[in-house]
Symmetry: C2
Subunit: 392 residues, 2 copies
């Protein structure tokens, strides 16, 4: 965040300390320059893509993604070759790489589920992550212009969030907007933004029952808004089109145990969303949702999804009240401390719902241990299959 | 609300009770028919307009408002004649009427401030209220179509709210939208909607300092969304374009003591907004914001506004934490009980900020007494100046 963001202990600082207005804040924040000129955060952001197929979808993203480094997490059969279009700078990690790099701790990384993407967050050395699914294409805004989703995510991450009071004109830091009458001046600095959750045109992110009931529903409504999800409110975080500040929240972006050998799937991003929201609320960090849109091309099979989801549909009725009621002690001053504390609460309280949550709680701890191992090592993890520039 | 909305004691009902899906809910809710055919809620909704001038602005609203009954609250000099365009069905109450109808309790109704509008809420006999300022005109949507603001408010009020969990595709009850993956099924019924807060194109609702800093800023962003303000989150409620269910929340829609003889102005709607939100959260009712937009034609004088606002700007730094922390005991099972309890807390806790809040707390009680008197009387209050149909 810009140096103009003071962190305060309380959401409502009192007394006569000077607070910056949003207009002065805008001047102090890093200037967002058009992508065409100098790609913003070029050396500070990795794009993480989980996949099982050739990445032809990158052709459409070339104008926006090519300046950035990609971390591709290959799911499924590691002997399969994933083709990446020419000219992209990428690393590719398959299951053999994950096993080699993490050793026994590789057990915390899901297999045969897009939850494996969080391995990419762990091995990144950058401050920011953008993750996108390989069935997501460039969407157009109502004027017909192609949307640079990454640029909008970066804008979201580099401007503050406002979790303590709702602004009825949505993001007060956007051009042409501000805080409305009645918005406390002491809250207008906002807080650092940890997560930017983007949306999807065309195929909406529905669960299997809704897919089955409304097979033809398409999302065609372009809502021109970014907003902060208020403190104390949980939301269903979708991993399809998601960016975050890895330094602020990375260790909590664990996508859980899903897929092969696990009783559920399609709850990887939900799990991460519940965890990160509780921790962001505790640490005074912001979570935004809204713009940018991507074009989600294909609905997944609702029958397959139902099989993956059905326990989650049942369990979430217990899990969500658990997270709504979760509080972290004030000793938890870092994301990692928060996450370890949350893992204990998961074991204690959700363990009664199903033994799966005991295993998941243990995996949360393993994840943090693996994160530390990978990130404190001086040697970089090597992928089996690394290229730079257009050399592949 | 439609009969399909079960009220439940807890936000998270457990067990095996049957819950309706949103699609079945849509079928059970009252059908919204186009205004041109049969005006929706024609006999169940009053339009309340506070004014000091001739109501020429109604000409533009004629296609949308003419079927409805208007309650005009004339502020300022009662000897002045307010002209209302031909063909509207209205009552007009001036200060003399308010004094005559309420007697000594008229002290709770502000003078020389648009806060006087809440007298109209009190004397209405209808289930729903829409209130609009006389400098608000019909806005156009991005396709150039004139927006029937009232119709959209009615849609908002007749469909449920979702305060317990955020839906990333905004209002799940709109055509083309639904609850996204990960939204708990037990919460998909929603709760009855008490308030619909509409927005403004052109002149945004800024405080005096922001007006002074950004005199040329105009709101031109049409955000095509309606959303529920989550439980536990306060918002700055603007009274310019506001609808509510009078049966559900009416007695809490008190606009406080502002204007003549009071130390502040322009906090009437804010006050009501803080109070109704705390009470709606306690009673399990919903508050929506977003569509519809009106066209706000003229910015008020920022120097005059600053004079009215400056104590409020200071005080709101104490008031908002007070409301954020306010809890109501479970014995408060009705809006009136909640409001009386809140008045006590205002006196106890905000009385220390300024003696004004002691006076305001007393006025809150007087307001409820006056509400009861007016609404339990079998005789209708008579305005000095009542017309029906086009007879004026």
């Amino acid at each position: 965040m810009g140096s103009c963001i003071e962190e305060t202990d309380t959401p409502f600082p009192r007394g006569d300390s000077l607070h910056l207005s949003s207009s002065s804040l805008c001047v102090l924040l890093p200037r967002i320059t058009p992508m065409a000129a100098v790609p913003v955060l070029k050396d500070e952001l990795d794009i993480v893509i989980p996949t099982i197929r050739n990445l032809d979808f990158l052709e459409m993203w070339r104008p926006f993604f090519q300046p950035y480094h990609l971390i591709i997490v290959q799911d499924g059969d590691p002997s399969k070759t994933i083709k990446v279009p020419e000219g992209f700078d990428y690393e590719l990690f398959n299951r053999n790489d994950i096993n080699r790099i993490l050793g026994p701790k590789a057990s915390c990384i899901s297999f045969k589920d897009s939850a494996c993407r969080c391995f990419g967050y762990m091995v990144s050395k950058k401050k920011y992550i953008y993750t996108i699914d390989d069935d997501c294409f460039v969407a157009k805004d109502p004027s017909g212009k192609e949307i640079n989703a990454l640029e909008q995510h970066i804008k979201n991450l580099l401007s503050p969030s406002t979790p303590f009071f709702f602004n009825t004109l949505y993001d007060p830091y956007r051009d042409g907007a501000d805080f409305v009458r009645g918005y406390p001046f002491s809250l207008r600095e906002g807080v650092p933004t940890a997560v930017s959750h983007g949306l999807w045109l065309n195929i909406p992110d529905y669960d299997a029952p809704t897919q089955l009931v409304k097979p033809h529903e398409r999302n065609s409504r372009y809502v021109d808004a970014v907003l902060t999800i208020p403190k104390g409110t949980l939301f269903p975080m979708c991993g399809m089109n998601l960016a975050f500040n890895r330094e602020l929240i990375g260790p909590a972006m664990y996508f859980g145990l899903m897929g092969d050998g696990q009783p559920i799937g399609r709850y990887d991003d939900m799990w991460a969303g519940w965890c990160i929201k509780v921790i962001c609320d505790h640490l005074g960090l912001g979570v935004k949702t809204g713009l940018p849109y991507i074009w989600h091309s294909k609905a997944s099979n609702p029958f397959v999804n139902l099989k993956k989801e059905y326990k989650g549909i049942f369990w979430q009725e217990e899990i969500i009240p658990f997270f709504q009621g979760a509080t972290l002690p004030k000793e938890c001053t870092s994301v990692k401390k928060c996450y370890i504390e949350l893992s204990k609460q998961v074991k204690d309280k959700l363990g009664a719902v199903d033994p799966y949550f005991v295993k998941l709680a243990d995996a949360m701890v393993t994840w943090i241990e693996a994160w530390d191992e990978v990130n404190n090592n001086t040697s970089e993890p090597n992928s089996s299959n690394q290229t730079n520039g257009a050399s592949k």
